[in-house]
């Protein structure tokens, strides 16, 4: 059911672990849904120089976290903000429809981590599309 890319990122996740003293942290999801993603970023001169993640979740959730951290590393905050769930899913060579919410979680995790950084710097947080992942769990998006 998973692409070989998803399996690769699941079996050999990149950037897994806790970052000491991160510049920004984004935690999304909840244990009720069965997936929690925590993304850590280190920022230097408006650029993400390092990213790490911790994830409780299924194969797609772990692979999405791994891919998301890969995609944002080296990007400016503006560029990283534009990394969408579709981009994560595409980089993974597709996700099963019922697993698309894992890539949404990754996008939300990136946004949260960036806004956490901005808030800590005394900057205005950028507007997030709140609860898109939650809506996938409860709304009509549930049945693909």
């Amino acid at each position: 059911m998973y692409s070989s890319k998803v399996m690769d990122h699941f079996m050999n996740p990149r950037n897994v672990g806790v970052m000491e003293n991160p510049d920004g942290v984004g935690e999304v999801g909840n244990p009720v849904c069965g997936d929690i993603m925590k993304i850590f970023i280190r920022v230097e001169e408006n650029r993400i120089v390092d990213a790490k993640f911790m994830t409780f979740g299924c194969g797609a959730a772990i692979a999405s976290s791994s891919m998301a951290t890969e995609l944002i590393k080296g990007k400016t905050l503006e560029e990283a903000w534009e990394v969408s769930n579709a981009a994560v899913a595409e980089a993974l060579e597709g996700l099963p429809p019922v697993k698309m919410h894992c890539s949404v979680l990754a996008e939300e995790g990136i946004h949260k981590a960036i806004n956490d950084y901005r808030t800590k710097k005394g900057l205005e947080p950028w507007p997030e599309e709140r609860g898109a992942h939650h809506a996938l769990h409860t709304g009509e998006a549930e049945e693909p």
Binding site: F10, M11, V16, V32, G34, M37, F56, C58, G59, V98
Partner: protein, 399 residues
């Protein structure tokens, strides 16, 4: 790390067809291919084979052969029993009682019947997965026409007190159906001695072929047909008989129900070693289902801080085939209704693993699973924010 080895521990999902069963079936796919409804010799031979299989199924559960109807499997048998009894007994009433932990082959027909105007009561279960007979007594009304409670649960393995539950229904003149799909070959069942009016079974759960099952319908039970068409199965179930499948079912059930205690003793010992091995070596685990009243092959354990599907994927990379009640494998986003019904919090239900043993499993298989599972769990826990958070909190408590 990929191993060549295959350790299949998902026998509750399906079993391999026994070679002896395949041998018995084979002539009915080749030379004896006749339609049992036809008149010539190869058709008569097919007819005789179907009737011999019927006798074997009947003997296995203490029924009369005339009370056995072949179906396409457990799902059809469940649908037929529930919808058939509901519509045939409408004048008497419309209320149905079942349990919250039934297989979807029972729950979904019941939910469909609710839309057709049949009220359904879903009995709760206790933390071990048992239906309380007192709850059944309370749920029954003057309108109740059917009680359907499974003999044994497919996920957590809990064996229900069906003799007692059936007696409560019988004393009130209400039909009692049991989905015995998981119980055949594991638990002795005798419909002569037990107050069971309808019973569903499926061949592929006990080393028979897929796509074949049966419904026992006690003589005199009022039930409508589910499939309409030709006059097969004494005009009760239209469709040309799956002759080879039926022959396979007959051979498989004969095998599975001969000396049940002897056949299951070895598997039971493997099960106990597997379960206690996991529970004693991996912390933050719990056994789901009743500790004693459970299927001899069922181990269902929840692992805190990890999610089931990722456990399955890693186990698969080691060649171990298992199952989970996590939402992430079912195509829905809710964890198993059975694990919810026994009161597990969502996050614990998401971390459940079901290992169901079978005849071909060995001591070496159990040793192998006990050697790879701790690695799988600790690897996932290392990347789990829930586990990390737990350990941080533990540190604070100790300081």
């Amino acid at each position: 790390m990929a191993e060549e080895r295959l350790v299949y521990m998902d026998h509750a999902a399906t079993t391999p067809t026994d070679p002896d069963v395949v041998r018995a079936m084979s002539p009915y796919l080749t030379e004896n291919f006749g339609n049992p409804s036809s008149l010539y010799r190869i058709a008569r031979e097919a007819r005789e084979a179907v009737e011999l299989a019927r006798q074997k199924v009947a003997a296995a559960i203490g029924a009369d052969p005339a009370e056995i109807y072949f179906t396409s499997g457990g799902t059809e048998a469940d649908n037929w029993a529930i919808k058939g009894v509901a519509f045939a007994n409408r004048r008497k009433g419309s209320h149905i009682v079942t349990s919250a932990i039934e297989h979807h082959a029972v729950l979904h027909p019941c939910q469909w019947l609710e839309k057709q105007g049949f009220p359904v009561t879903y009995l709760p279960v206790d933390a071990d997965g048992l239906v309380n007979p007192g709850d059944l007594e309370k749920a029954i009304t003057d309108e109740t026409i059917l009680v359907s409670i499974m003999a044994a649960n497919n996920e957590i393995g809990t064996i229900q007190p069906i003799a007692e539950l059936g007696r409560i229904a019988r004393e009130r003149g209400i039909y009692f159906h049991t989905d015995a799909v998981q119980a055949i070959g594991a638990v002795p069942i005798d419909v002569r001695a037990m107050p069971i009016d309808l019973l569903s079974l499926s061949a592929h759960k006990f080393y028979g072929p897929k796509g074949t099952g049966a419904l026992f319908i006690r003589k005199g039970v009022r039930i409508d047909n589910l499939l309409h068409g030709g006059g097969q199965e004494r005009k009760r179930r239209a469709s040309t008989e799956n002759v080879a499948g039926i022959v396979g079912l007959g051979r498989a059930i004969e095998r599975a129900t001969t000396d049940i205690p002897g056949r299951t003793a070895r598997i039971r010992a493997l099960r106990d070693r597997l379960a206690s091995g996991i529970l004693s070596t991996i912390p933050h685990t719990r056994l789901n289902g009743h500790p004693e009243l459970r299927l001899p092959n069922n181990v269902n354990i929840s692992f805190r801080f990890v999610e089931g599907e990722s456990m399955l994927l890693l186990l698969d990379s080691y060649g171990v085939a298992a199952s989970t009640g996590s939402a992430c494998t079912s195509g829905s986003l809710e964890p198993s209704h059975v694990l919810m019904a026994i009161g597990l919090p969502h996050e614990i239900a998401h971390g459940s693993l079901r290992l169901t043993l079978g005849e071909e499993n060995t001591d070496a298989d159990v040793d192998y699973v006990l050697s790879v599972l701790p690695k799988v769990v600790s690897r996932l826990r290392e990347m789990s924010p829930l586990y990390h958070q737990y350990r941080e909190e533990e540190k604070h408590v100790q300081q």
